[in-house]
Assembly symmetry: C5
Homo-oligomer: 267 residues x 5
Amino acid sequence: MDPIFFGGLVITLVGIVVSMLIDGNSIGPLIGPSSFLLVFTASMGAGIMAYRKSELVAMPKSALQAIKSDVPDVQDTITALARLAETARREGMLALENKLEEIEDRFIGLGVQLLVDGADEKVVQETLEIELAATDERHTTAIDFYKGLAGYAPTFGMVGTVIGLINMLGNLEDPGQLGRGMALALLTTLYGVLIGNLLFNPIAMRLERLNEVELAALEVAIDGILSIRAGASPRGVIERLEAYLPPSERIGVGDRLAKPGTSTEAA
Amino acid sequence: MDPIFFGGLVITLVGIVVSMLIDGNSIGPLIGPSSFLLVFTASMGAGIMAYRKSELVAMPKSALQAIKSDVPDVQDTITALARLAETARREGMLALENKLEEIEDRFIGLGVQLLVDGADEKVVQETLEIELAATDERHTTAIDFYKGLAGYAPTFGMVGTVIGLINMLGNLEDPGQLGRGMALALLTTLYGVLIGNLLFNPIAMRLERLNEVELAALEVAIDGILSIRAGASPRGVIERLEAYLPPSERIGVGDRLAKPGTSTEAA
Amino acid sequence: MDPIFFGGLVITLVGIVVSMLIDGNSIGPLIGPSSFLLVFTASMGAGIMAYRKSELVAMPKSALQAIKSDVPDVQDTITALARLAETARREGMLALENKLEEIEDRFIGLGVQLLVDGADEKVVQETLEIELAATDERHTTAIDFYKGLAGYAPTFGMVGTVIGLINMLGNLEDPGQLGRGMALALLTTLYGVLIGNLLFNPIAMRLERLNEVELAALEVAIDGILSIRAGASPRGVIERLEAYLPPSERIGVGDRLAKPGTSTEAA
Amino acid sequence: MDPIFFGGLVITLVGIVVSMLIDGNSIGPLIGPSSFLLVFTASMGAGIMAYRKSELVAMPKSALQAIKSDVPDVQDTITALARLAETARREGMLALENKLEEIEDRFIGLGVQLLVDGADEKVVQETLEIELAATDERHTTAIDFYKGLAGYAPTFGMVGTVIGLINMLGNLEDPGQLGRGMALALLTTLYGVLIGNLLFNPIAMRLERLNEVELAALEVAIDGILSIRAGASPRGVIERLEAYLPPSERIGVGDRLAKPGTSTEAA
Amino acid sequence: MDPIFFGGLVITLVGIVVSMLIDGNSIGPLIGPSSFLLVFTASMGAGIMAYRKSELVAMPKSALQAIKSDVPDVQDTITALARLAETARREGMLALENKLEEIEDRFIGLGVQLLVDGADEKVVQETLEIELAATDERHTTAIDFYKGLAGYAPTFGMVGTVIGLINMLGNLEDPGQLGRGMALALLTTLYGVLIGNLLFNPIAMRLERLNEVELAALEVAIDGILSIRAGASPRGVIERLEAYLPPSERIGVGDRLAKPGTSTEAA
C-alpha cells in the first residue's frame, strides 16, 4: 500500500479544511451523501457503457494495483537475470529448468521457459515482444477507463447542479428556501470536481506512470534473456543491463551475485 | 444485445433519480420532450452536414453494431484457422475450396479464396491488408460521426437555454413566470449533457473499442492465413497464433481441433 | 449541389423552431441582423489575418466545393484507367496521346502525359506524388481557415455579449430596459454558436472528408498509371485497383470496359 | 508591410462598431486604457518567464516579420538556382564564387559556398538540412511564444474582472456604483479576448504559415543545389524544381533564364 | 539565478497593480493567505498522488534548476570536445584518462571513460544514447508534474469558491454579509489562476525549454565523442559540430583552441 497515494489525498483535504476554518466557513453544509452517490454512480454507469464484461472485471484490480504500486522493479529484474546467466553459464541452458519454479516474475519465467525449450532467437524475441505489447494494451484499457471516469465526474456534478436549479426555480415562492436550494445544488458540482480530481484522475495518472515503469522493466528483461541465450557471462549481462539505470543506481557485479539464494524471489 | 450498454445507462439514471429523491427534488420539472427534440434533432442535423449520403446510410447500422457488440473473436479466429490448416495439410490446398461455403467470417473466406486461387504470398498479404485498412477506415468514419454528435448535443443544449433566456428576458413583467421560464430554459442544457454523455458518446467510445478488438482479430487472421499458405501444421498455426492471447486464454492444440465439424461456423 | 449539406441545416433549424413553439417561445426576439453582422464580419476579419492574399482568393471556391461535393470518384478513376490500359495494350503507349484531350481529370491527364513522354518509372511516381502532396496541402490550408472561423465565431459572439452587458450595466436607471438589454446582448452569443456550428464548422468538416476521398482516388490513380506503364492488361489493372474498393462495389472487368466511348469523360 | 494583417484587424473592428451602433450601444464605456495595460503587461510578463534572454531578444523581430510577410519565395528560389546552374554549366563550379556576393538569400549563399569548396554530396546535404532544422526550430520557438501570449491574454482579462468583482462586492453600500463597477470589471475580459484574438494569435498563426512557406522554399533550394552539384543543366534544374509548384505557376525555362542580370537579386 | 523568471513575474504583478490603482480598486481585499494556502496545498496534494517517492524527491531540485537555468551549453560542449580531440591526437586515446578529473560535465566524462576503455563504436553510441534517453525521461517526468500542478491550481481555486458560495448561500439572513462572503469566495478563484499561471506553469514551460536545450547539447556531445573515437582532428571536430550552431555563433578553430587550460572546466 503506497503511502503517497493516501498522503496526497490527506494533504489536499487538510489544506481545504484548514483554509475553510480560517475563513470562518463551516463543514456541515458540505456533507452531502446524495451528491457523492449521484456523481459516483452516474460516472460509473456512463464509464462502463463503452466496455465489455471481460474488460470490466479487471478494472477494480487495476485500481488496487495503482494504489499498491506493485510493479516489477528494474533493479530486481537485473539481479534475477544476472543469477540466471550464472546458472546458464555454469550448468548449461537446461539447468535453468530447475530454476523455473523459483521465478516469481511471470514474464521472466516465460522467457526462461523459451530458453529451456531451445527456441530460436527470433521466436524468443517475438514471443516476449507480443507479451509486452499485450501487457501495454491491457494497462492502456484500464488507464482509459479511469480517465473516462475522471471526465464524467465533473460533468455529472454539473448535471446534479442543473437538476437542483431547475427544481429550485420552479418553487420560488419561498425565498428563504432559495439560498438553501442553491447551496444544495452547488454541492454536486463540488463533489464532481473532487471525485474526478482526487479519486479517478489520480488512479488513471498513477496507472500511466506504473505502466511506463513496468514496460521499462520488461524491455530490460527481454534484453537480458536474449543475452543469456547468446551465452553472455553474468558480468556481461550486468554491465549491459545497468546501462538502463541512472549512474547512481548501478550496483555492479559484486553485489548482484552475492546472495544467489534470494535472487529470483526478488524479481 | 450487450447488457452492459443498457446496464450502464440504467445505473446512471438510477443514481441520478435516487439522489434527487433523497434531496427532495421532484422528477416532474425534468420531463421536457421539447428539450429532447431540440437537442436530438439539431445535433443530428448538424452532424450529417459533413458527410455524404453513402456514408450516412451506414450510420444506424454502426450504432446497432456498437450496442450488439457483434465483432469477430480472436479465439474463434484461431480455432477456425487451425482447422483450415488441418484440411490443407491432409487434403491439400485445393481441398479448402470445399470449406469455403462453411466459412461465415467474410475476411477469412477472402483469405481462403486467395489460397485456393494459388495467389502469391505478397498478393495474399497486400490484398488482406488493404481489406483491413478499408475496414478500419469505415469504422473510423462512424466513430467520428458519433463523436461529432456527442460534441453537438451539449452545444445545442446551450443554444436552447440561450433562446429560452432571451425570450424570458423580453417578458420580465410577470416575475412569477421568471423562475418557470428559467427552469424551462435550463432543461435543454440538461438534455444536451445527458444525450451527449449517455447516448452519442458511449456509442462512439464503444465503436472505438470494438474496432480495436476487430482489427486485432483480423491481424491474427492474416498471420494464420499466411502460415497455412507456407504449409504450417495445425499445431504450428495454433502455437503461433496463441502468442497473441493472454496466457490464461491459451486453450492449446487438443481443444481447438476436437470438434472439426463446427470449427468454421464458430468463426 | 449536395442536398445533405442544406438538408442538415434545415433539420437543425426546424428542430430548434418546433421545440421553441412547443415551449411557447416566440421567434421575433431572436431576429438580430446586427448580431449576425458582428459575428460574421469579425470572424472573417480575424480569420484572414494569418493568410496571404494568394491563399485567401481560393477560399470562397473551397467553400463552394465543399457544398457541391465535386470530388473525383474512385469508381470513375478505376474505369478510366482500365480503358487507358486497354488503349495502351492494343495500340501502344504513344496512342495514349490521342486520348489526352478526352481526359477530364487533370491528375490522370498529367500521369498519361508522363507515360506518353516515356518518363522513367521513378520520375512518374515522384512527379505524381508531389502533385498529390501539393493537393493535400492546398486543401489543408482551406480546412484550417474554416476551422479557424468556426473557432472565432463563438468567441466574437461572446465579445458582442460582453459589449452589450457593459453598455447595459452603465445604464441601470431604467430597470424596464434591463431585460431587453440583456436579451439583446445574449443574441450575439446565440449567433456566434449557430454561425460556428452550422456554417463554418460544417464547411471545414466537409472539406476534410472530401480531401480524404480525393486523396484516396489519387492514390488509386498513381497505382493504376504505374501499372499501365509496367504493361499491365486492362483485367490486371481492374483486379489490382478494385482491391481498394469494399467488396460490394467491385464491378468487375466486363462492366468497366463495356462503354469505351464514355470512359474518360466519366473520370 | 502586408495589408491583409491590418485589413483583417480593421474589418473586425468595423464589424463590431457598426453592429454596436445599430444596437444603440455607445463606444465610450468600452474605452479602458487600464484594461489594455493590465492584459498586455501581465500577458507579456507571464509569457517571457519560460524563455531565456537570447531567445527573447529575437521576439519583436519575429512579430515584425509576421506582419511584413518577408519570406523567401519558391518562384524566386527556382529562378535563382536555374541561373546558378547556367553559370556552373558554362564556366564551371568555381565560377560560382564570383556570384556569391550577388546572392541575397543566405541559405542559397551557404549552399553555393559549399559547392565552391568542392564539398562532398553528403556534407552539402547534411549541412543544409541542419540549417533547415535550425531555422524551423527558431521559428517554432517564436510561434510558441506568441501562442502562449494568445493564451495568457484572456486569462489575465478574467483575472482583471475577478479583481474588479472582489472590490465591487466589498462595497455594496452604493447600489448606483454596482452597475458601473461591474461594467468596469467586465472591460478587462473584453480586452483579454480582443488582444488574444486580434493581436497575439494572428501573429502566431501568421508565423506558422510563413514558416511552412519558408521551409518549402528551403527544401526546393536543397534539391536544386544538389542538382547543380550533380551537373544538371539549367533546363533540368527548372523541370525538376517546378514540379513543386502548382501547374498554373510553372513559368518554364524561357522566362526563368531571360534576365540573368537580375536573377540572384530576386532570390 | 535567471533574472528573467522573476523579472516576468514582477512585470505581471506590476501591470496588475498599476491597472488596479488607475481603476480605483484597492489591494486590501485581494490579500488572502487562506486562499493561497488552499490552492497551493490542495494542488500539491493532488499532484503527488500519481508519483512514487523516488520521483517526488527530485521535484524541488527540478524547480530550482528551472529557475536557475543551469544547463549545458552547446558552445562550451564544442570547445571542450575540440580540446579533448587535440589531446587524443597528440598524446593518444589513453592520455584522455588524465583529463577525466578535469571534465565537469558528467555526460562528456562518461563518453571519455568509454574512449579510454577502448569500447566499441556501437557500445559508445548505444551507452550514450541510453543516457540521453534516460535524461529526457527524467526531465519529462518533472515537466509533467509541474504541468499537472498548473492544471490543479485553477481547479482547486474553483473548489474554494464553490465551498465559499455554499456556505454563503446557507446564511442569506444578513444581506450585508452577502457581498463580503462572495468576495471572499472569489478570492480562491483569483489565487488559483495566478498560482497556476505565474508559478507552476512557468516552471513547467521553462523545464521544457531547458530540456530541449540540454538534449541538443548532448546530441552534439555524442557526435563529437564518436568523431574523436574515429580519430578526427580538432579542426575536423570543430567544423563538424559548429554546423549545429546558427552561423552568427560559429567561433571557429582559432578561438576554441586558444586557452587549453580552461577548456574542460568551461564544459
